[in-house]
Point group: D2
Chain length 346, copies 4
């Protein structure tokens, strides 16, 4: 079976495994206060052009999301996000569990707009009953989104402007950041992300690491005693050096960017194969996740050889199927898939 | 100035004030464990046809809502409600503050349907990733809704059935219950409410009392140590007998029902006056809240003599204006308003 | 039966009831934004010598406690209080329910010291693992304490100094404030309280009102959007004017102070009667709560005529019995009790 | 420098690293639903003699503690633990952050007794004001404790009995379980732990793994939708197979037990060296953590060659110093330390 079901089914990139293996036998300080974490943070700050940023390493995405939100919002504030936002639909209410409200906004292909943010901000500003409603305090977006789409630089700049206008924090979930930056047609750099967000993270789990998310904080208020928030929210790894050593490897010689770029190139090959066959996309994604519409028969045919994800059905009874590449996807796997697409019966 | 802005601007019905005055000088047990609360509970249980119900008295609506939700749901469960639901938009995130998620559903005139509930329940049931999403654990509706509309008996029966099918608790917010039961065309009785809901409350604050909401619990699981939940959520009044004495008065000789019925009759007179004048409703409400569309000039004209609420604007730049009657609205006030409507310039 | 079991078993002082009765028929704005609340706040600010204070009216004590704490502390901060503190032992974990930790300190007769606060502050300051422990962010004390004792001015000044030194907020629970200020030997004025606390409240429920606690905020940070916190925590009464009208009455002609002073005088008469009889106090209380040690036989004898509270036993098998006066305790009741004490068999 | 400062400063036991390395290139299902986790769970269930247990793998201790507590307690319930309990003093208020109260009990060398539990249970049972206080719902102990001591089998049996008598859940934090089971004089087996606890965990982070804690649930109520609690509390690792593969290695050929036993033997050698030198223990610990009392000069002398932890001072101005062995401590390190002890000036 060839696996295209997700981007977290393999251990880690060989360079990451080698880096962990190389420090075996050495002893390091606990809880992320070690020299390797320091070096990894320096590499990241240099690469993103933000020497004054705070960088912290956490284990996973859900944990990172609610920790950042807990550190950023006051009790009466809420976070605006797309209805399809990960925090709204796939984290078992973790944000609400620690006391904060999510206000879900309608989305287009996983994206929300500056106009929506401004409208929410303005509604609060002009409200006669401000104490009866939550104050929008944060905008949460993902780059790329849960549908694999990316914001344009213009869209991000506009979101930033709306956040400034209404006093909101901009938080960018970068669980798949590498794949987003490598997206076909993308005009956003990691330096733009670091310039525009108050806080964001560079996803490791899905981009070459065993696990780990590097949180970058640009807004000093959020950074205040952030380590206390990490600990309180269960995100402080005793052996923090395991996170540092992985990110040090990923940010050496731009490995993080190279391997995610390769994964996106493979996804584009697959996308083209589907398109050439006349199989429609559910959403036009320029990143490593491809959502296509298959008939029942086609899906069953693929299922004999490939593992992929079923994401529900459309009204016309087509299956929405996700095929996902990652840093570890091989040329052979792609060839097998494109070949299968070509010989598919309509 | 004549006040039609809300139904909580007066102290209390004279019979309620008299009842409080009559017990002055008497000493009672604290925290609702007194004989008057007991008598009030008995009167309520008899009137709603539920001798085995648990009745508790809380002070206000927001408090009651999140206390009931806290007592009903496990951490990974969420409450389904209309996007316009009071808990979703007018309680400053109180439900999330104590850790529970609200899943807001699109509504029609403030109402949600059994089909929507079944869809949410089914989506969870068939999900491959149940641990990543919240489990719908409760349906919250208001009777009447925030738009003054009411559910039909058939709609409530269908909601009950959907709740049974998918294991959800049905919670009915009756902050304005009296006005809903007295609605024009309503076919639901308080006995129906008591039969169909797992838990509901009989609003006192807006229906003749100084303050107070009588929670009626039919589902024994929710009732378990409910007093602990009340105390923990700040809803236990030291002088609980003040709540008991008010509800005893309101449930003596059906006072609660009589005075809300009169208020709705007055609202219907006002509704007819608007309609006769050709002024459109924003929503066709059969209860004490009337939402009409006024031009800027009309609204200003009314504002000289009447206090009413501005609820925003429509796309066509009409003002959505709320005129509200209550148990204390006088014939004179209604006459002044209907007269003003009649002489209004178009 | 004569009731000495608590100070919340009667409705309200006649002047308060009259004040409520007098506004019947008038309509007021909702949620505390009415002119009466404004007047009451002005009277309070004048009386406490703090023209720039923020005054808010809430319904009950538990609610007030956790609302103030929610508004004051960040997630990783904790509140220091006596092990016997009301928030620690009699509020069903309400503070923890909204996410904050209480660090309980050993007490002497219900009181904690500046030295204990300084020690906790210093322990955090010098800690190598600050992110693993909560930061003391608030000191909570009650005046009078749960044992009826009061802090001296010197003790309060010292607590203030320790709070300043270590950056803590000082919160004084004044559920029985009137009785504390009237305590035998007390050298603290309400102006001192207002000068030394960051936030405190003037208890109404136990001091002449039907219900209600007047929160006075001196620290602007706590005051920021405090109404949002009130609403979120279920403490915003729709008919807020009911709170205003009661406190306006209580702060007219110093009624609040006069009636609590009378209650304490009566308690001192009772205290003397017990002492003259040779019955020992469990704690030497100068306020309206008297804790005495009775034999089983004595307690049973009293129980025939009087209602009082059983607060447990001592090691020597004596019953700790609480006799409580209030603003409504009559001369006749006191005479009956002192007479019974005198004729008690040893 | 030789490191004796903690038991989490090295990566992982070679067998664990090898196991991870061996699965590189293989793809596995996500979120712990893979065959390796299944195999690891089977090995654990067999070893502990509990074929019907539920086994889940989480990343770290704090996270595990509050996840288990969130899954076990209702909002009005509290957890009893020693004042020195990890959840009470070293987790930044994580338990309170998700809404539950900790009631801290005085301890002896880190341990609490069945009598204390029974007292707390009895106090609640006989209380007249149950709704004003939290109900003890859980006992949390650590094995070994934060001071390195262990409960005897008799003590554990008594705690179990008290929990049964008063309806409490017994939760055993086994972050260092291996070291506890290998303690000098210990008479408790892992089968006893599994028989007596409702829920416990087998710590991996400090006992040979890179990270990871294996939660074993014996009480089906706690196990209900436990995966939802894991996800909600940020403890679900995307690549769960990384946890499974480590515990499979640790529970193959009793590796977990062998390596922790060796670590304790080394600690006993160090303990003896201190004792032979006449240096006193702060606490008589039979496990891998040794707490000794050093003079300032002695501590400085050691600090030249060894890293160890300063845990404060005693009243006599002696330093409490912790020397910790682990699975990775070498004979050479032990020899260097015992030699240094021998030549120490008094």
């Amino acid at each position: 079976m060839y696996r295209f079901n997700n981007d977290y089914s393999l251990t880690a990139h060989p360079a990451v495994l080698k880096a962990i293996s190389e420090i075996s036998g050495n002893a390091y300080g606990g809880y992320g206060l070690d020299e390797i974490c320091g070096e990894a943070a320096e590499l990241i700050k240099k690469r993103i052009g933000a020497p004054d940023a705070d960088v912290h390493f956490l284990v996973g995405g859900t944990q990172t999301n609610y920790t950042v939100i807990s550190a950023s919002l006051l009790p009466y504030q809420s976070v605006l996000c797309a209805e399809s936002g990960h925090i709204n639909v796939h984290e078992t209410g973790a944000v609400e569990h620690i006391g904060r409200k999510i206000t879900a906004l309608p989305h287009t292909n996983g994206k929300i707009t500056a106009a929506q943010v401004a409208e929410a901000g303005e509604n609060f500003r002009i409200s006669d009953v401000q104490e009866h409603i939550t104050e929008p305090g944060m905008v949460y977006i993902s780059f790329p989104t849960e549908y694999g789409t990316v914001y344009t630089l213009q869209e991000l700049e506009a979101l930033r402007k709306a956040c400034d206008e209404y006093g909101l924090v901009l938080f960018i979930d970068g669980a798949r950041l590498g794949y987003g930056l490598a997206a076909e047609g993308n005009d956003v750099t990691i330096r733009d992300i670091a310039r525009l967000a108050d806080v964001f993270y560079i996803g490791g789990t899905k981009c070459g690491a065993l696990f780990g998310e590097a949180v970058v904080i640009r807004n000093k208020r959020i950074g205040h005693r952030f380590r206390s928030h990490i600990k309180q929210n269960g995100g402080m790894l005793a052996k923090g050096f395991l996170l540092g050593v992985q990110f040090r490897a990923l940010f050496t010689d731009d490995l993080y960017f190279t391997i995610t770029e390769q994964a996106v190139a493979k996804a584009m090959t697959i996308k083209k194969a589907f398109r050439d066959k006349g199989i429609k996309s559910y959403i036009d994604s320029p990143t490593n996740q491809q959502f296509v519409l298959l008939t029942e028969a086609q899906a069953e045919e693929f299922a004999k050889e490939f593992v992929f994800e079923n994401e529900g059905r459309t009204g016309q009874d087509m299956r929405i199927s996700r095929f996902c590449t990652c840093w570890g996807t091989t040329e052979e796997e792609v060839a097998a898939l494109t070949e299968a697409i070509r010989r598919l019966k309509k």
